[in-house]
Structure formats: C-alpha cells, structure tokens
C-alpha cells in the first residue's frame, strides 16, 4: 500500500515508456478513447479510391473504435441524392465526397464544414499530417473566398493525351503532338492506318472541349465565380468549336458523336482508335487493363497547346464533412486516417492508385513505379499537369453552380456544329442566349 503513492525509478520508467509511443499511435489511442463506440456514416460514388480504401476499414476501426459504414452509389445518383441531402440540412452522413462539379455550390451555400478548426489544432491533427502537402491547384477549388478549406483531395483527374497506337505515329516519322496544329498534322498522317481512327472522344463535350477553347484564347465565363457572364459567342469560341467539331468528326471512329465515356475508352483499348485527351483515370487503363490490346504501343503526353497556352482539365474530388453531421470529430479522424501520407502510400503501393493529391506521395518511388506505363514516366506528367493548374484559376468555370446547365448548352452546340446543322457562330450564339437564360434562372447576374 505504501508503494502506491511513491515515485520509484521503475514506475517512472514505466510511465515514460507508456507515454512515448509513435505519434500516429498516440493519435489513434486518443481517438479511441474519445470516439470509441461511435459509428460514422459516409457516402461516396464508386471511385476506385474508395474501392481500395474500404479494404483497410477494419484497421481504422480497430485503432480508433469508430465504426465506419459507407453508402456507395453511381456518380449521377450520388450527386442527386447528396445535393438533396445537403440542401435540406441533412444529418444522415458524416463523411462525403465533395464532388468537383458541386464544390462551389455546396461550399458557397455553407453546406459543408470548414476543416480548419481540425487542422489548426495540433492536439487533433499533428503537424506531420501536413496540409500543405496537398497539391495547391487541387485544393484551390475546395476553399472559399476567405481561404477556409472544406475538403481534402481524394482524386485529381488530371487530363493527359493518351495515344493507344503511338507506334503508328512513330512509323509516320512524327512524335506525339504538343500543339493543336501538330495534332491535326498527326491525325492527317495516321488516320485510317491499320484500320485505326486517329482520334476518339465521348460526347461530354463540356469536359473535352474547354481545354481547346482556352488554348485558343476563349473562355466559358467572364470571370468565375464573381462574374458568370457566359463567353460562348466570341470569335475565339467559334474558331475553337469549329476546330474541335472537325477533329471529332473527321478523325473519329463511326458513331463517335454518341459515344459514352466507356465506349470511347473501349475504342482505344481495342485498338480501333488512337488518341484521346482525358483524365489519368481513363488514360492509365490503356497500359494496365488486362483486356487492353495496346499495352505495348501506348504513349502519353500533355494535352496539345494552342496559341494561348495549354489548359489541361483537372477535376478534383475531396473528402468533406456535411454541416449537418453530428459526428464531426469522428468524421475528421476518418478523413485524417484515409488521406494520411501512410495510407495513400499504401494505396499506391498495394493497388497502384494513380490519382493521388499529395505531392510527397506523387514524388515517391512507389508512385513513379505505379505510373511508369509502357516505359514512360507518367507520374511526372501527372505532377506537371497538377502544377500547371497553379491556383486552379482556369478550372474555376467547372465549379460554379450553374455549370451543369451551361455545359448542357455547350454539348448541344458542339453536336449541332459536328452534324453540320448549324455554323459554329450560330450554334454558339444560340448556346450563349440559352446559357444567359439558365444563369439568370439560377439567380445569378450577367452583364447586359
């Protein structure tokens, strides 16, 4: 009994030993004591990231005592449901994917929780978690005007040029095109060779066309998100739309105008079509998919530049916490774990996950190995695209609340031009008028 109150050397050492575990374990223990027994409910769309991550949920549950339950839905379903859930102040979910196309809407309306209160507190988030490690351009769209962060990136869909039959281009004595003029030259040289169309694309022109619009000096909106006046009836837009419509109809496989995303990818995987510009998630399977017939001929490059520069599209989705969540602390523990350097490194090492948003992981050897595709360092290409995004300014058009409506007008205009129903100028003039109406209906002002 006497020994109980005495501070002996042995008890001191034992106490020190107990107090000096690794920081990560310390964090987990803290979380375990605080949130053990809590169940957090999450929602995500069917991203490869999530498919990989859920294999490790038992580890998180064992370390923290927090149970995790996720609803996984198709992308369009997820967006519909989550928009309704958030707009009605729902508390059904604690962790969600803040979808790229809804970031401005959800963040701007205050439907998502600012994460700074968690990251600023070293007792909650150790400095080693390193928020600055997330690529700047990726995070830019997940911040508000005051600089508060509402989500951390789980996937960055950086657009690259994938040439399924790079060998045909080399055989023609050319290299991967770096400019839009080069692209047409290459298309002319290889189109139809070996029965392969030079180009392919899906019908989501509002994603595929803007890089070429911007490369020719055009833009979608005047100055998003402050000024959402559409800029579709400009000479640059007409020139670019005409160029793009010609690219897909002259050099694309039969039926290209009705291609879904999947059909466009299959046309490349089967070797029916050669080049396409799309996010890395769709480009990597050309070298990695077991059904790919072009594993040994695929080449990767940057999206071809125009007179105004190159503007590869980047779509970033992040983990966030709904404003209505009642388990915010536990939800943050989950996000902190899921997006830690260690976990992302494991996803890269064990699953070859290609769309990481942390710079330290992107620059690591395992990532380079995972993204060395047919002998090419695509990891470096990926980082170059993300760096080029800078502060994300040129992709802001994609995150404004009315973009889905305006994007729909763009799709119809490009179809009308490609099918020669209308001239580029007329189609875009019509798209401009329709876009103005849609934006005004959305409650936003446009310049007279």
């Amino acid at each position: 009994m006497e020994a109980r109150g005495r501070l002996t050397r042995r008890s001191l050492l034992a106490g020190l030993a107990a107090a000096l575990p690794a920081p990560a374990v310390l964090g987990q223990d803290k979380a375990k004591s605080k949130y053990a027994g809590t169940t957090i409910r999450g929602a995500a769309f069917s991203l490869p990231f999530h498919q990989y991550l859920q294999n490790y949920f038992p580890e998180f549950e064992a370390a923290t005592g927090i149970k995790v339950s996720f609803d996984i839905q198709a992308f369009p379903i997820y967006n519909q449901r989550m928009d309704l859930e958030l707009s009605t102040g729902g508390s059904s979910y604690d962790v969600i994917i803040v979808t790229f196309i809804y970031q401005n809407r959800w963040i701007g309306a205050g439907w998502v929780t600012p994460l700074d209160e968690f990251t600023a507190d070293p007792n909650v988030t150790p400095p080693s978690w390193d928020t600055a490690d997330f690529v700047r351009g990726v995070e830019a769209s997940m911040r508000d005007a005051k600089g508060r962060t509402y989500a951390y990136g789980v996937e960055a869909g950086a657009m690259v040029l994938g040439a399924a039959r790079g060998d045909l281009i080399e055989k023609a004595g050319l290299s991967l095109p770096t400019t839009m003029d080069d692209l047409i030259k290459v298309c002319d040289a290889v189109n139809g060779k070996d029965g392969v169309s030079a180009w392919t694309a899906d019908k989501l022109h509002h994603w595929n066309w803007p890089p070429y619009l911007q490369a020719m000096g055009g833009r979608i909106f005047k100055n998003p998100p402050q000024n959402l006046t559409p800029m579709l009836n400009t000479p640059q837009a007409a020139k670019s739309a005409s160029w793009y419509a010609n690219l897909i109809t002259k050099y694309g496989p039969p039926g290209i105008l009705s291609f879904t995303d999947d059909q466009a990818m299959q046309s490349q995987l089967s070797g029916r079509a050669n080049m396409r510009t799309n996010a890395i998630t769709w480009a990597a399977p050309l070298a990695k998919n077991p059904n790919s017939t072009v594993k040994n001929t695929v080449r990767y490059g940057m999206v071809p530049a125009g007179p105004a520069g190159d503007f590869p599209g980047v779509a970033c989705h992040g983990f966030g916490i709904p404003a209505g969540s009642r388990q915010k602390g536990a939800a943050w523990e989950f996000i902190k774990w899921a997006l830690s350097k260690e976990m992302l490194s494991r996803l890269v090492k064990e699953h070859g996950y290609p769309s990481v948003c942390r710079r330290s992981v992107i620059e690591s050897e395992p990532f380079k190995e995972a993204l060395t595709l047919n002998g090419q360092d695509v990891a470096a290409l990926y980082l170059k695209v993300l760096d080029q995004l800078g502060d994300g300014a040129y992709m802001r058009y994609r995150t404004v609340p009315v973009f889905p409506q305006v994007g729909d007008k763009i799709n119809r205009a490009i179809e009308a031009i490609a099918t020669k129903q209308m001239s580029a100028a007329d189609a875009l003039k019509q798209a401009q008028q329709q876009a103005v109406e849609a934006i005004r209906m959305g409650g936003y002002k446009v310049d007279p």
Partner: protein, 269 residues
C-alpha cells in the same frame, strides 16, 4: 382478301420486331462478355455466358431485387384492399358531383418532382428514409387514386340489379360485394392490379430520393453499375433483363384479363 391478310400479318410481325428489338438487344447483351459487347463490327454469333447474371446475384442487386418484390407486392395488395371498396362506395354514391373524385386524382396530376422535397423532409423526420415501409406508403398514396378511378368506372358498368338480387336472396352488403360484384369486375381488378404493380416496380424517382442502401430497389441498383471509371454494360443489361422479367411474366399470366379489363366499356356511350 388473302393478299390483304398477308400484308397485315407481315406489317404486324415487322412492327412487333421493331418494338421488341431494343428488348432483344438488351437480353442478348446480358449474355455477352465485355469483349463481345464492344466488338466492332458487332458479332452476330457469340458464346453466351451466365457470368453477368452470376456477378449480379453476388452483388447488392440481389437484396435490391427482394426489396422491389416486397415493396411492389405489398403496395399493390394494400392499394387494392383500400382502393376497391372506396371505388365501389363512390360508384354507388347518389351525388352526381365529381369534385371528390377530382380531389382523389389530384395526387397524380402534379409531376413527382413536385413532391420530392416535402416527402424527403417528412420521411427524414419520421425516420422512414431508406425503409421498405416508406416506399410502400409512397406507392400506396399514388396507387390508391389509380385504383379508385379505374375501379369506379368498372363498378359503374356493373348492373346494380345483380347486387340487389343478392340482397333479396339474403346476402349482406359485404357478401354481395365479395361474391357478386367483385367477380363481375374481375377483369378490371386484374388490369388495375397490373398497372399498380408496374408503376411500383418500375418507379425510379422515389426510390432514388427516398432510399440509400437498405431499401434500394432494383431499378436504382441497375444504375449503380454505372461506375465513375466505366460502366459495367453486361451487368446493366442483365439487371435490366431481371427488372423486366417479373412484369413480363405477370402480364403473360393475366393478359386475357388485362385486355378484357382495359377494353371494358370502351364502346359504351
């Protein structure tokens, strides 16, 4: 005359082929591998595979299919149970005003989107989100008006003398309804039940808004095969075929009633 009949038959077969073509294409695709689905030019002959159905049955689609079956059957039975007596009462009402009937059909006049947010909020507060009961209730509210409107016209075409004769013979009110009136209106009952079944089974909108994962129905589960990084066409086709199958089988069994029911009173002034 003979030539005319041949032309009519050929036209009918051609029209049937045209109408059935998308369905046959879907069924065909459900037995193909991804490579066959995307083969260009498309293969006429291929080695059929059950892989898509097997994969479907190992996924959450199986539970969604059960959800669909439970919710649809329950809501159809309940709608008939509540709606048929109501329709009978309305058909025998002495008032000539249609105001009450109009109020009943009002729930079907507005587009479903108009009800989405009120229902979502009410269901959230009542903890009915993502429950089978919630879906049964919603389909019930929409189907009852359909049952009342359809069955009312069937009952109005049933001679009152029949039930009056039953009463004179000593049958009570319910006995006359069950033993005399309902058998006379059997084609109408079958047609109405099928329409309720089809509406509930095929509903996508309310199932999308009001369910998550526990009560998700088959039509929504099929869309879940449209993954972010690619659509699983084989499973989508297999799921689509599975979703169509019960309605098809049900309709085949009761098609005689369906035709009689839908054309009953068609030439009555």
């Amino acid at each position: 005359m003979r030539a005319n009949r041949i032309i009519i038959h050929v036209l009918a077969i051609g029209l049937a082929a045209l109408v059935l073509a998308p369905f046959l294409w879907l069924v065909r695709m459900s037995f193909q591998t991804n490579a066959d689905i995307f083969a260009f030019p498309p293969h006429l002959w291929f080695s059929p595979t059950w892989a898509n159905y097997a994969a479907l049955w190992q996924s959450e689609f199986r539970d969604s299919f059960v959800n669909s079956a439970v919710v649809t059957t329950s809501s159809t039975l309940l709608s008939m149970l509540v709606g048929v007596p109501a329709a009978y009462a309305l058909s025998r009402m002495r008032s000539r005003s249609n105001a009450l009937s109009l109020w009943i059909i009002a729930s079907r006049l507005a587009p479903p989107t108009a009800f989405a947010i009120p229902y979502f909020l009410a269901y959230r507060d009542l903890h009915l989100l993502d429950t089978r009961l919630g879906l049964v209730v919603i389909y019930l509210t929409f189907n009852i008006s359909l049952v009342i409107w359809l069955m009312r016209s069937f009952f109005e075409n049933t001679p009152r003398a029949l039930e009056e004769a039953a009463w004179i013979d000593g049958a009570g009110f319910w006995r006359a309804l069950v033993s005399v009136v309902l058998p006379t209106a059997a084609p109408g009952l079958a047609a109405t039940a099928i329409l309720c079944f089809v509406f509930s089974w095929n509903d996508f909108f309310f199932a999308l808004i009001l369910t998550r994962s526990n009560a998700m129905t088959a039509p929504v589960a099929v869309v879940n095969f449209m993954n972010y990084a690619g659509w699983e066409w084989g499973r989508i086709a297999a799921g689509g075929t599975m979703v169509m199958l019960p309605v098809l089988v049900f309709s085949l069994f009761v098609r005689r009633f369906l035709i009689n029911g839908l054309t009953a009173g068609a030439v009555k002034g």
